[in-house]
Amino acid sequence: MARRYDSRTTTFSPEGRLYQVEYAMEAINLAGSTVGVLAEDGVVLAGEKKTTSKLLDQAKQHEKLFQLDDAMFCAVAGLTSDANILINRLRLSAQQHAYSFSEPMPVEQLVTSICDYKQGYTQFGGLRPFGVSFLVAGYDVHHGFQLYHTDPSGNFSGWKGYAIGVNNNTAMQIMRQDWKPGMKTQEALELTAKVLVKTMDTASPTADRLEFGIVYKTPEGQVKFRMLKDAEINKLMADATPKEGEEGAPASSS
């Protein structure tokens, strides 16, 4: 029934739906868990990598988290190839703004620019939409620390905590209960780890399957971005994993 209206991305169905956009969002729901948490003095993004294999050539391949500017980075869920195109555009937009105006681009303006670009693919050209959702985390002097989510329709909103990819509903549920205003970056990291433990496929989440990144304020007042090291990730995940015999521990399989 829907078949007649799916092949053209830029046409509405009789019920007023854009099927290609919706199908794109379906693709993203199958992506690796990606979580973002906004704290008072920083933002955390983390993602579960889907491609982990001994045969991978480079030990550290970026798949989920990408830096966009000095104090901005994003997490990707969806088609990696589509994501690469958009990330290049995001990085270029941010630098072009800094070149013209000698000031870092405000986070919301960068998110708006990429969303307007994505929206174009849902309205003209006859090309399919980008099968990517982003969580964009950043800092600017105008609005401080911010977390945004964007989807293939070109829509976006600001969030205190958000999750995309598999089990995002479970993740959001946990965040709804446990996110508190005034959280510090460390607490946000712990919340993120807690959420990932519940949503990840594996019983023993380790650093080789995860990427963690933060934008945070140093004690001297500078804002920096960094990716967490393996040791830090392993510690966070170990602390968040409930011990055997405790409530919530994964049932031992025989």
């Binding site: 070149y99 013209s100 105006f101 000698s102 000031e103 405000p106 919301e108 303006q109 708006t112 600017d140 105008h142 609005h143």
Partner: protein, 241 residues
Amino acid sequence: MAPGQYSMDAKQHTMSPVVTGATVIGMKYKDGVILAADTLASYGNEARYKDVCRLKKIGEYTLLGAGGEISDFQYLSNLLDELADEDWLHEDGCSMGPKEYSSYIGRVMYNRRSKFNPLYNQFVVVGKKQDQAPHLMYVDHQGTAFEEDFVATGFGMHLGIPLLRNNWRPDMSLDEAKALVTKCLEVCFYRDCKAYCKIQIGVCTGTTVEISPPTTINHFWGHGAWTERRLEETSDSTGTW
């Protein structure tokens, strides 16, 4: 056409300005930054348009003062208004300040000169955005751009800068600052044939940007050296041979 050549017709390139403004003086003071310029647009050596405002407010916090070709100043003013409107339309609680505008102007000027079609101007871009430090930038038709505590364009560079160097202090009050720029423009009026005795002063305080209505500088021509008759007079004063 050579790569980058703007047009076959050389007349399309602003290589020599037609209607020009003269000196612009900018300087920081204790609470902000001020800009001053006279209200004359000269047509070559003719003092043609005597009521021209060469100062322009951009956005909420910035002032632009223009010397050089007036039509290019008007063109850039339109570009800047479009930029300010776009900024306002974002509705995102961020507004651009003097740093962004002066950087943008610098980029435009440099890119135009690189295409061999310059905007023939010397600009002083000043402003103060709320509690940030006051900002003052010089940008010209070659794309030269630099920040300073006080600058002057045109003749003001030669006649005014020495006065500014001797008298400027970072903690000057607004009245002292106004008096100093007025003095510089007064000297310019005496010695620059393309200057004028009506001036306007613009002030950026961090919360307001105001351009004053034109005021006239006092000028004195009753010097003995000027009025005494020095030429020896002969009895035969018809002066023919």
